[in-house]
Symmetry: C2
Subunit: 226 residues, 2 copies
């Protein structure tokens, strides 16, 4: 079971754990693995591949330098691992998209909510892969292009697959309407992330989040739909 719906019809996040092969790291407690992965991703997002400091990573992850280089042979290996990990997270994220839901607003709502849950586990995956595409370091550039680019292409295709565009009113430029909806979702998402850590219960936050989001969709539906 990849996902399920509760009595309100809201998508429940319950994916399988992402695992990239790394015999040594995989023996650690999941909590610790997450700590290391997130610390490393954070540093790579902040400084880029070359300038990212392994010293900063071990400080943030609260492990020793020796341990880091026990888990990963080199900084480059660590980076490659994180790229593969991030790609895996996004791939699983795609799998969650309910393609039988043809209403654009409901589709986007589900996607936004799932992004929220992913953020709770891996706060910077999306930023990381976005930043990776911009990487300049020759040492990793080709590898990134090979592994990350296809993921993005598949994503933009999937998100809009089987959407029912007949609901749109005459005369509206649908492409522009979709862009507005995307920018709104992105902006609202960013706003949500600033508040998310002030909430104890993620589910409680999710409810409030969805409730507030309805306000925005109402405004846009008024313009988009017949």
């Amino acid at each position: 079971m990849l996902y399920s719906n509760d009595q309100n019809g809201h998508l429940i996040y319950g994916r399988k754990e992402v695992t990239i092969i790394n015999p040594i790291l995989n023996n650690l407690k999941l909590e610790k693995q997450k700590l290391i992965i997130n610390a490393a991703i954070k540093e790579f997002v902040k400084r880029g591949f070359e300038k990212a400091s392994t010293n900063e990573i071990v400080k943030e992850a609260r492990i020793s330098k020796g341990s880091l280089f026990n888990y990963f042979h080199s900084k480059k290996d660590l980076y490659i691992y994180l790229i593969e990990y991030g790609v895996q997270v996004i791939e699983d994220f795609y799998e969650q998209i309910d393609l039988s839901e043809t209403d654009l607003f409901k589709r986007i709502e589900n996607i936004g909510l799932q992004k929220l849950y992913i953020h709770k586990k891996f706060p910077h995956v999306f930023d990381f892969l976005a930043a990776a595409i911009q990487e300049e370091s020759a040492e990793v550039k080709d590898m990134i292009k090979e592994k990350v680019d296809p993921v993005y292409d598949r994503g933009t295709e999937l998100i809009y697959k089987h959407i029912d565009y007949s609901k749109f009113r005459e005369g509206i430029e649908i492409e522009k309407a979709i862009e507005i909806l995307n920018w709104t979702m992105f902006g609202f998402g960013e706003k949500g992330l600033h508040q998310i850590n002030t909430f104890e219960d993620l589910h409680e936050f999710g409810e409030k989040y969805l409730e507030e989001w309805k306000g925005y969709t109402e405004i846009l539906k008024y313009s988009f739909y017949k």
Copy 2:
């Protein structure tokens, strides 16, 4: 004359040059000054104050290390100069806001267009000041708070000053509508910046930009206004 309008009523960008006191730097040709300022801003945005490398800056600005430290006594002095410079750019940007224009869409349109022109001259000023507020380095933190925070406060106040909200339809949540408009402007602006460098003539691009923007405002006006 800070600004003027052409026959189409579009705002023409013709501000006074921003000048922060620095006797040595000011003797340079404006082109070269801009090159140095933009190179430095870019590096500080990318790496933050402490990790930013003066070596990278001189490489990007195509000047020697000796020159940089002839223009500025230290990396910190350079940073302070850039903050003051950025603040000045934003302050002048505020002055351009036509407060007699009470229509929200026209107000936002002007602001978006001006941001575009500023970006042509100083591609990363807005990013720079936004990043500065997040700076952690104790060496510059207080100075930033003192100089940058007030600018932001004044900005959000000015942008919405004297707007005529009576044009909005009954039942719409105006705060949310404004957020949507802002996110749309921001998203559209980002998209524009990716195309701007492919255009020779900035004025020509500005025209196309405005024309396309109209499509988005039409969609939103349909929902926002009576």
